[in-house]
């Protein structure tokens, strides 16, 4: 039982993977499914680089065991197709090195979905979960607000 075959519902597809119970969701999607968009930054829940969506809510995939994700709807950055938030990140120069970007975008994506009328306070509360070391956050703020306003 320490290793097991499980099914994960990722980006609309049912995928079969062999995992140890001790494997995190991050490890499984990167290592077993080759979805390397979610990044390790701390493996400790502190940086948000590994953020994916689970049942439409942001989730730090380093804080979740793969076995905990059975039966849940997982969306990774690879599952987003030409969403407004992706383009807004491009247009507003909301990234530099790009390492935090998948995590930030997944968090923003869920925010826009859950709180289409998010105010500054809500935006801050949500986006405070991720660290971007390159930008000063002004561009990320602009990107997310542009999308919220255009809805």
């Amino acid at each position: 039982m320490k290793s097991q075959i499980i099914e994960l519902y990722v980006n609309g597809d049912l995928r079969t993977v062999t995992v140890r119970s001790a494997d995190t969701l991050l490890y499984a999607i990167r290592g077993k499914l080759g979805l390397t968009g979610a990044k390790p930054g701390c493996l400790n829940g502190d940086c948000g680089a590994c953020t994916v969506n689970v049942d439409d809510w942001p989730m730090k995939s380093c804080l979740m065991l793969a076995v905990e994700a059975i039966g849940k709807n997982i969306t990774t950055i690879e599952g987003l197709k030409k969403t407004p938030i992706q383009q807004a990140f491009v247009d507003n120069f909301a990234f530099q090195c790009g390492y935090c970007t998948p995590g930030f975008i997944m968090n923003c994506h869920s925010l826009i979905h859950q709180h289409p009328d998010a105010d500054d306070k809500t935006i801050k509360e949500w986006l405070g979960s991720n660290i971007c070391r390159c930008t000063g956050y002004a561009e990320i703020e602009k990107a997310v607000k542009t999308v919220l306003e255009n809805q």
Partner: protein, 772 residues
């Protein structure tokens, strides 16, 4: 064409918003083994015994390296064993390396390596290291191999000593009516690039060493591995894909060495070592700390007549890049002020701290904190407006730098203009202090900076241009895309020069030292300057070749041909011409005859007239030009709690020319954010055993969204005549003045002089308590 200045979207944009951009760790194969480093839990301790027996028998373990003497490494002084042997000198030092099939197995085995230590007295600060009876970090300092211009003092903790002697000190003191003197200090901290460092090494049967690494300096990796281990340099190939932030921290060569040794131990199989965040903070090089002593003398107008400066840089356990950092701190030691009589001692001090890599700004944000706080103390003493004091002392053409470089209209920016613009931007005339209520007060603090890039006098950069059949161009440069957007800007420069659509220029993002022309290192805001110059030369080469073949086909002299829109055409009859696609792979006449051939453009650049420093006086030319900037920070301070919020932060930098507006703004704002985090929160906390107590992002906290201020950024344009389109480096400058400006604002707000970083409320409270 006007591509210059426009906010052209980054070439790699789509890759980065879709998760497709690949970083070192994203490259994985089933045959790849994993390396796990065992690190020292203490700051200074003798290694009594390393027991690897149990670990060797763990499942999946392929090799364990420990206790073996490998050649010493280090850039200026070879003082660092890749794996500690006799003793450990810092918390986090690599002591053993386990290679196993999977990361999990490697970690499990690493946890079972038992090391017995005997504690040694710890050197806690550069000041302590400087004392006569301090414990020795390197007992055999005199025996190490070193570079010619490095001056360690055996029998002490001094790894190098840089002297600046200029003018006549006695004269300076006599001309002064006021003096200020103050000490400043702060411990080391970290870069926290979001991508932790990662290296993969493999040795092929023919001896080819392949390394993939998250580095700013793949060409240095190649050189140093060849040098340290006596390998054939032509057989070393270093690849660098996207790099997830670097900030100087990835200019040091460390993990690559371990991966290389690891691969060697398993018969050349590929070995990957990925730092955990804790290892990245503890084991890999950090951001330097500093103890500074500053003394200024000034006349009654506030003109600084003399300065005596002592910098003790915290080199930590090993000197590596700290020697360069010590030199860089010396050459710009005064900040951007004209001081004719100057005495500066810049010492690189061994301590039992993690050792430093370069950090964005290369010693300048650090020394600026000390200098800019002293400037405010001087202003206060003389009752002169602090901005006015800086204006009066601003360095400019006609002055000489501490190392006696004569400044002219090109090699230095216009600081006075920056100050004037800053004054408007932060509404300085409305007053420095604004009462909000009986507790809250809004206060502005200001600062200035300058910086030259002390790079190797013979540092090279090269560019190759090739064509595609449709006439579009491939641009290859050894600059690493660490997030600065440099490669996109290079495409803009080429588009401007060739007057063509930037979309038809393809840049190669990855660097591979075998096929990409060398660019020294992607550091020091020198990417555009050096690679840009090489690129312009390559562009000339291409233009020349295009014209040559076109002149034959068009039967017109080369001089009559113009180039624009991917065409070569007659100046007086643009309709008569050829598209690049018709000539870039040779021209074929209707009957099949062909002339010309594939056009390949090459260009290179090397710095001119840089010199080493005179060992007694420091005289010499350390860098090509000085970028200057002025800064302001506005805080809202609670006078009861000593807490504060960052309200606004401003930077005005003389950028020469803006090449890509949004990219430049992004660089400046990002640097400001990093500077404020360094100034306001980030530091290593050590205990009595020299252990870093906060090696996680839970307790070592960079700025998060919403903690940032509103940014005000503007530019002054004094072109650097030697640089592509006059542009000066801008990657670091937003950071340099933040600690000083924040420190100045808080010192006014709290009514006490603050001398340490980080500027947390507790520090203010403590300083207040000590005063009362």
């Amino acid at each position: 064409m006007d591509v210059i200045g426009r906010s052209i979207l980054r070439k790699e944009s789509q890759d980065k918003v879709t998760g497709r951009a690949r970083y070192t760790h994203d490259h994985h194969s089933n045959t790849m083994l994993s390396g796990k480093v065992v690190i020292s839990p203490y700051g200074h301790a003798k290694i009594v015994k390393i027991d690897t027996i149990e670990a060797r028998n763990m499942p999946g373990v392929k090799a364990i390296l420990a206790g073996e003497e490998f050649p010493l490494t280090g850039e200026d002084i070879r003082d660092r064993p890749p794996l500690a042997v006799d003793k450990v000198r810092y918390h986090g030092e690599a002591i053993a390396l386990v290679i196993a099939d999977t990361p999990g197995q490697a970690k499990k085995a690493a946890d079972r390596i038992k090391v017995q230590y005997e504690l040694l007295p710890v050197v806690h600060s550069p000041t302590q290291a400087f004392q006569k009876d301090a414990p020795m970090v390197h007992e055999r300092l005199g025996e190490y191999i070193k570079e010619k211009h490095t001056t360690p003092v055996p029998g002490t903790n001094i790894a190098t000593h840089i002297k600046i002697r200029k003018g006549n000190m006695e004269k300076g003191w006599t001309e002064s009516v006021t003096t200020v003197e103050a000490d400043f200090s702060f411990p080391p901290s970290d870069h926290v690039a979001m991508e932790t460092r990662c290296s993969i090494a493999e040795i092929l049967p023919d001896g080819t060493i392949k390394i993939m690494t998250s580095s700013q300096a793949p060409f240095m990796v190649k050189q140093l591995i060849a040098k340290y281990f006596n390998e054939d340099i032509g057989k070393i190939i270093v690849e660098t894909p996207f790099v997830g932030g670097a900030f100087g921290g990835k200019a040091s060569v460390q993990l690559e060495i371990l991966a290389y040794l690891g691969s060697k131990a398993v018969g050349g199989l590929p070995v990957k070592i990925l730092n955990s965040r804790e290892e990245d903070i503890l084991m890999s090089p950090c951001h330097i700390g500093l103890d500074a002593k500053i003394k200024f003398g000034a006349d009654h107008l506030g003109i600084i007549k003399v300065a005596e400066i002592r910098y003790l840089w915290d080199s930590g356990a090993y000197s590596d890049k700290a020697i360069d950092l010590t030199r860089a701190g010396a050459v710009d030691c005064t900040g951007p002020y004209n001081i004719e009589n100057l005495w500066c001692d810049s010492y690189c001090m061994y301590t039992n701290h993690p050792y430093p890599a370069p950090f964005r700004g290369f010693s300048h944000s650090e020394l600026s904190f000390a200098i800019e706080r002293t400037m405010d103390l001087l202003a206060q003493k003389l009752q002169i407006d602090p901005l006015e004091l800086r204006y009066r002392n601003a360095i400019m053409k006609g002055h000489t730098t501490p190392t006696r470089v004569l400044l002219n209209q090109s090699n230095v920016g216009d600081l006075q203009k920056c100050i004037v613009r800053l004054k408007e931007l932060i509404s300085w005339d409305e007053g420095q202090v604004k009462e909000m209520n009986n507790r809250l007060v809004r206060v502005k603090g200001i600062s200035c900076s300058w910086k030259t890039s002390t790079i190797d006098p013979n540092a090279p950069s090269g560019v190759i241009l090739t064509f595609n059949r449709d006439g579009s161009i491939n641009l290859m440069s050894g600059v690493i895309e660490i997030g600065t957007g440099t490669k996109t800007v290079l495409a803009q420069i080429l588009a401007e020069r060739l007057k063509m659509n930037v979309d038809n220029i393809h840049v190669k993002m990855e660097v591979d030292t075998q096929t990409t022309p060398e660019h020294w290192k992607t550091v020091a805001s020198r990417g555009i300057y050096m690679a840009g110059r090489a690129l312009l030369e390559a562009a000339e080469d291409v233009i020349n070749q295009l014209r040559e073949i076109a002149s034959i086909v068009l039967r017109a002299p080369k001089e009559d041909l113009e180039i624009a829109d991917s065409r070569v055409f007659l100046r007086d009859n643009p309709l008569m011409g050829l598209h690049f696609q018709d000539i870039c792979y040779g021209y074929q006449y209707p009957n099949g005859n062909s002339i010309g051939g594939q056009i390949i453009g090459t260009g290179n650049f090397i710095m001119r007239h840089l010199t080493h420093l005179d060992p007694e006086t420091g005289a010499g030319k350390p860098g090509p030009e000085w970028t200057v900037a002025a800064y302001g920070v506005e805080i809202e301070f609670d006078r009861r709690d000593f807490t504060y919020q960052l309200v606004k932060a401003a930077t005005v930098v003389d950028i020469g020319t803006v090449l890509n507006k949004k990219a430049a703004l992004g660089q400046v704002m990002g640097a400001m954010s990093m500077g404020l985090a360094f100034a306001g929160r980030e530091t290593f906390y050590f205990d009595q055993l020299g252990r870093v107590l906060n090696p996680q992002l839970r307790t070592y906290r960079p700025l998060h969204y919403g903690e940032n201020p509103e940014y005000l950024v503007d530019f002054v344009h004094t072109p650097d005549l030697e640089a592509p389109y006059g542009a000066r480096g801008v990657g670091e400058h937003g950071l340099l003045g933040m600690p000083g400006a924040l420190g100045n604002a808080l010192s006014v707000a709290a009514g006490v002089s603050l001398h340490h970083l980080p500027l947390i409320p507790e520090l203010i409270w403590k300083t207040k308590e000590a005063k009362s």
